[in-house]
Amino acid sequence: MDNMTRKGHTMPERDPSERISDFSEVALGIDEERAVSEAKRCLACKGRPCTAGCPVGVAIPEFLALVAQRKFGEAYETIRAANSLPAVTGRVCPQERQCEARCVRGRAGEPVAIGMLERFVADRHARSASPVPEEGKPCIPEDGKPCVAVVGSGPAGLACAGDLAAMGYAVTVFEALHVAGGVLVYGIPSFRLPKEVVAREIEDLAARGVRFVTDAVVGKTVTVRELLETYSAVFLGTGAGLPNFMHIPGENACGVFSANEYLTRINLMKAYEEDAETPVYPARHVAVVGGGNVAMDAARCARRMGAEVTVIYRRSEEDLPARREEIRHAKEEGIAFLCLSNPVEILTDGTAVRGVRCAVMEQGEADASGRRAPVQTDRTFELGADCVIMALGTSPNPLVVRSTPGLTAKPRGELITDEGGMTAIEGVFAGGDAVTGSATVILAMGAGKSAASAIDGYLKEKYGVRAASQT
């Protein structure tokens, strides 16, 4: 450690006036010199508070030391040992609440920019090495070597598949959509997470032996019971895909969308492209309801589609659950925030949206989340809008539970598992948003990782086999 400056390096970003007219990445990444200099700010604390703050336990001081020594390849492998998707998490993790929040340097000055360095290492690896795709392993139990089916190719499924493949299991990932990646491809916009980055991470997993099957809806095309006839264990990483609505008048009018629908049209179906075959609703003033990352993503997409955008949030601005960076980016891009406001009615002209009637909220006593509860007043106001996007969180998809007798779930659809992540059906594990309800990419990955080790333990105990380790 020899960089004692209190201020860390900052991420170069594209100018807001330029970036609001396209979907290219906003954060440009840092160069080698800045990365090395930033890595040298690490104090290599013995207590490793940063690693303790990481949901997947990346060996952060070790990888930072390797960056400082310009051993970038080793730095990548150090991250990769705990994290299957470093290029993704380097971009989308809420570091300010995890690793960086615990960095000792943050007590007097800025914490080490761990997320920025993770991204640097992953991007540099991607440029230097292209994964050599091997033939996906066919899932036929050979020599008693068990194989595992992973349902869903979002963060939980990919992390689980990555770890299991590294342990030597034959893994097949089933995805309902026509492309793998789950929320990383349909939800998070390319200006925050370029789709090539996701594709590269998936190619990397394929090169490490994971087989991907798209267009397969587990529960419909093939049932969980049928999977158990071929696979020794199943991991359900089906996420929380079902969008929540407010159930207020006017919500089914033309021009009201779930954030999932709006984002899917843009991100997965590329509706922003001139000659796209999938339409996106043309709008001049978009109101986005909600204050999380998904709300920011929807608002910033709408801005890029040429609309004036207002975010409506029922709590105070300090309570916005989105990453700080997303809020800052949204503001730089000219997005307005109406906090302590809550829609009570979508106004229509009989057919389509013409505005939102909101109640003014006040801050009450602290609630279970520790934040002051929003209390509705009888004062209301109207906001003109020709499109409303509901970004109110999501619930687990009911499709798998409904089609799998024996699987149990909570009233809102969260799958019930034991401490080891096994569901009520033997050999069927679950993790990520499907179990917790909507959370973050990294928490889902953490759940996928623990499920992988639980599956490993289960298979060893049940079949008494040790899968040959892959190198």
Binding site: A176, L177, H178, Y186, T214, D215, A216, V217, K220, T221, V222, G241, L242, P243, F245, H247, E251, N252, A253, C254, G255, F257, S258, N260, E261, T264, R265, L268, M269, K270, A276, E277, T278, P279, Y281, T351, N397, P398, L399, R402
Partner: protein, 281 residues
Amino acid sequence: MVRIVTKRSLRESVVLMEFEAPLIAEKAKAGQFVILRVGEGGERIPLTVSLADRSRGTVTVVFQTVGGTTMSLASKEAGDTIADLVGPLGNPTDVSGVKRAAVVGGGVGCAIALPVAKALRSAGAEVTVIAGFRSEGFVILEDELCGAADRLILTTDDGSRGVRGNVCQPLRELLAGGGYDAVYAIGPLVMMKAVAEATRPFGVKTIASMNPIMIDGTGMCGCCRVTVGGEMKFACVDGPDFDAHLIDFDEAILRNRQYLAFEARKREAHCNLLRQGEDHG
């Protein structure tokens, strides 16, 4: 990639297409749908399965060419491939416990009425199919419908074939005779709405098969939401069949028109492309 096994034009702008899809064929039941993409970068569109043939390992759909995607699908031939076919999605039509049923199909919806009629008959019900078309030139699958029903009543708006007028009058006459315990309506929203109003006074359970705009078809986008009995339902995971007496059809009609301008533009673009092709050909 999914291979097209058979393509047959049933009449102008109505095409029957059979796809090689053994996994879907194994599972698909009456009332369920598939989602397909014609090419890379293509739109995802839902189409209800008209026939699932397990021995051939195929599923068949019948569609009308109304927009860019259906037009480019119609330009494919047997032996060609499409990018994606996924399913079977949605819940199968509930035919349990029905003894005497009327299945009412409208236009291209008759292709979906067909498997429902078959499912009802194999469940032991006596089935009358009422198939409504605009005029004689629009009639499709007459022999198949005839074979699947105990009785087929054909109607045309202009009386050029069968009973003159829409499907509601013969339906009322049937129900007045008594003994019907279920009516299944499959077709355009305005027709299903009319059927619901026709059966309401008789108090006969009436099921409508909804076909809203969808993207994923697995409950993720919420695009297909339908108000049923004042509650929000997703057609893809809760339906597509709902109690027709509880559906807010007026809202559904408005929602289905959401992208009409875009559809018209795509249709125009596709026609221009074909025209240019002809000019150069």
